[in-house]
């Protein structure tokens, strides 16, 4: 029963206005779903449902293509 309290609620299901923000042009918002190294954080960590995690992953990959988001960040260079 204790586990049931640890379940995370998807932020996009709580607030429907956020769904519009899943777009490669909103790269500042998409940065929330990246680690410091530039990796995509898995849905089971952030609590995003599979449906929106698929969309986020697609849009992050588009933003990477147009150099709005990094493919990888080397923390040693900073």
């Amino acid at each position: 029963m204790a586990l049931s309290h640890q379940t995370k609620i998807c932020p996009f299901k709580e607030n429907k206005d956020l769904i519009v923000m899943i777009n490669y042009k909103e790269h500042k918002f998409l940065r929330k779903f990246l680690t410091e190294q530039g990796k995509i954080i898995p849905g089971y960590v952030t609590g995003v449902s599979a449906k929106y995690q698929r969309l986020i992953a697609k849009e992050i990959k588009k933003a990477r293509n147009i150099a709005l988001l990094p493919y990888h960040v080397d923390p040693r260079n900073n």
């Binding site: 490669y24 588009k62 990477r64 293509n65 147009i66 150099a67 709005l68 988001l69 990094p70 493919y71």
Partner: protein
């Protein structure tokens, strides 16, 4: 006819005049393929997440248009062969995401020129601040005068009252 948008990064060394020519030439290439422009938005100079062709900065331009999907390949090829375009991305969009109420291309590019417009603006701002300060000084002077006059009136009133009391 479907709606598409293509975002491309222009070489940062291009001046506003040459940048406008490039944007218009890309627009013209779309028109020659039978497309229609919907919106043009210049994001301005931004830092790239990773260097492209050894460039750390780039000018981002967002171009939304209506076109036959089959012709997009030729349009993308034009961007690919343009040496001033560092990168580009063409995606399909819905018609409700098209930007509206954008200023004209000239004003968008004019805002990017810091040497011409901003200096004028700062001059105006300095002038206005000077004027405001002068106005404030004059207002405070007037207020102080008014206060003095009011105090004098009160004093005279109290004197008169005291005088009348003494007489009684």
């Amino acid at each position: 006819m479907l709606y598409y948008e293509s975002m491309y990064i222009v070489h940062p060394a291009l001046e506003a005049g040459r940048l406008k020519d490039l944007i218009l030439s890309i627009e013209k290439s779309l028109h020659s393929l039978g497309g229609e422009t919907c919106a043009l938005n210049v994001w301005g100079k931004k830092k790239l997440a990773y260097p492209i062709n050894k460039e750390k900065y780039g000018m981002y331009v967002l171009f939304q248009f209506k076109n036959d999907g089959v012709k997009n390949k030729e349009f993308n090829l034009g961007l690919e062969h343009n040496s001033n375009v560092l990168a580009y991305l063409t995606t399909k969009i819905e018609d409700d995401t098209i930007l509206s109420d954008l200023p004209s291309l000239d004003s968008q590019l004019g805002l990017l020129n810091p040497n011409t417009k901003e200096s004028k603006d700062t001059d105006n701002e300095i002038k206005t601040t000077k004027e405001v300060v002068e106005e404030k000084i004059s207002e405070t002077k007037e207020n102080s005068e008014e206060k003095v006059s009011e105090e004098e009136i009160k004093k005279t009133e109290t004197e008169i009252v005291s005088d009348t009391k003494e007489e009684k």
